[in-house]
């Protein structure tokens, strides 16, 4: 708080504010102040007695009002429990059916108004998609047209998507993370959350642990394969990252937070997502600045079909995959325990 003048109420600003609030003339305030100073004790007592009487009358009136209100509310309650519930239920059903039918009709109307599928003159068969299909492989070097689309032609959009994931993970961290106190000791809430988690966690379940021993490496390898092969086959950063995140969650479920936190902490999350997003932004900034409109960007496209090809698409896929995997893991850990 900043320092405030002790006589603030009588400054120009204070009087102006009071006048604004209550509609008093500033002169009245001055007059009343003066009168209250001039008043002697007996007048004060008489005044306070009158005020007390007025308060009593007001409170009686208030009580009467609340009694009336109470009886009205009770009648309303009884009505809503017997007859009103039926009416409200019927109205609810009617309104929901009306809403559904309206939405269905609107959507059907839109579908009817859309151009027919497969007609040569329809706007979906314009020159843009034709150009993507015919020259996409040559321009981006990616065999998978979708990867070339989302990570080369429309890479800016994908950067926004990854940033949305990062922001979502940050928001979940802010909302659900249970912090330690100032000295670094765990708080009561954290201890309670860990106790609750321990009672529900499938602890030392040999069946789960055995299957996780077999499955986790396979799942992680498959996720890495999907990420690295994103420009050659269906897949890419988003789906591969989701698979890697699922593998991490499986490991966490089988072996618990103590073992999972050896390789995944808040620092790991911050480092990986920050590096991925900044590399993505820098690489695409360079590419937009130097490589747009057919300018030579100096990044070799390679032969389409080999694993080290298609320029920036492979590293960008890796970045997106890491962000997605970290986000999935953080979401799971936060919603389960409120911490890693």
């Amino acid at each position: 708080m900043s320092k405030r003048n002790s006589n603030w109420g009588n400054t120009l600003q204070g009087r102006f504010l009071r006048w604004m609030r209550f509609g008093w003339e500033p002169m009245d305030v001055l007059l009343i102040d003066k009168m209250s100073q001039d008043r002697d004790e007996s007048v004060n007592d008489a005044l306070s007695a009158a005020e007390n009487l007025r308060d009593l009358q007001l409170s009686e009136k208030y009580n009467a009002d609340t009694a009336i209100e109470h009886s009205i509310m009770q009648e309303l309650d009884e009505w809503s429990l017997s007859k009103g519930r039926k009416i409200v239920n019927r109205l609810y059903a009617l309104l929901s059916v009306t809403l559904c039918v309206t939405v269905i009709l609107l959507l059907l109307e839109t579908v009817i108004a859309m151009p027919m599928r497969g007609v040569a003159v329809s706007p979906t068969n314009n020159e843009v998609s034709q150009r993507y299909i015919e020259e996409g492989m040559e321009e981006t070097g990616a065999v998978n047209i979708v990867a070339g689309m989302i990570l080369d032609y429309r890479a800016f959009d994908t950067l926004g998507e990854s940033t949305v994931l990062f922001i979502a993970a940050c928001a979940v961290l802010i909302l659900l993370r249970i912090d330690r106190d100032k000295d670094g000791r765990p708080t009561q809430e954290l201890i309670a959350a860990e106790e609750d988690d321990r009672s529900h966690e499938p602890k030392s379940d040999r069946i789960l642990q055995g299957s996780a021993m077999i499955l986790t490496p396979v799942v992680l390898l498959f996720g890495i394969y999907v990420v690295l092969n994103g420009h050659l086959s269906p897949g890419g950063g988003f789906s591969g990252g989701a698979i890697i995140g699922a593998g991490l969650i499986l490991y966490l479920n089988a072996f618990g937070f103590a073992k999972a936190s050896r390789f995944f902490s808040y620092k790991t999350f911050a480092l990986i997502t920050l590096l991925s997003l900044s590399f993505y932004a820098l690489a695409k900034a360079y590419s937009f600045y130097c490589g747009a409109n057919g300018l030579p960007s100096g990044i070799p496209l390679g032969t389409p079909g080999s694993i080290l090809s298609s320029g920036l698409i492979l590293p960008l896929n890796i970045c997106v995959g890491m962000v997605v995997a970290c986000t999935m893991y953080i979401f799971y850990a936060m919603f389960r325990k409120g911490g890693i």
Binding site: H200, P202, D205, I207, L208, S211, I214, L215
Partner: protein, 118 residues
Amino acid sequence: MLEWIRFIFTAAFLAAGIFILIASVRGVYKFDYALNRMHAAAMGDTLGIFFVLIGLVFSAPDIWLGAKLVLIIVFLWIASPVGSHLIARLEVNTNPIWEKDVTAARRTIEEGDTHGHL
């Protein structure tokens, strides 16, 4: 001739798998208690999907696609029974009607008999 044999095998396995899946869905809706329902769902998850994927293996155009489908079967046969086991475990651990059995099992574990592991 070979095409016909493949087609017949594919159709037979797919029909068997779909029958088992429909039966498991019927079981999920018919039974009342969580463990019974989970049993029906797990049947569909393992045997039904197994038959469907075996049918797809017979109809696969080359051997590598068939091998990938076999790998998917292996994955599902490891993963889905474990999932059912975890659901059953949660039900047994949290439902009060099993409390006596759970404490008895815990006691046997504490006494050193790890075969009754829960």
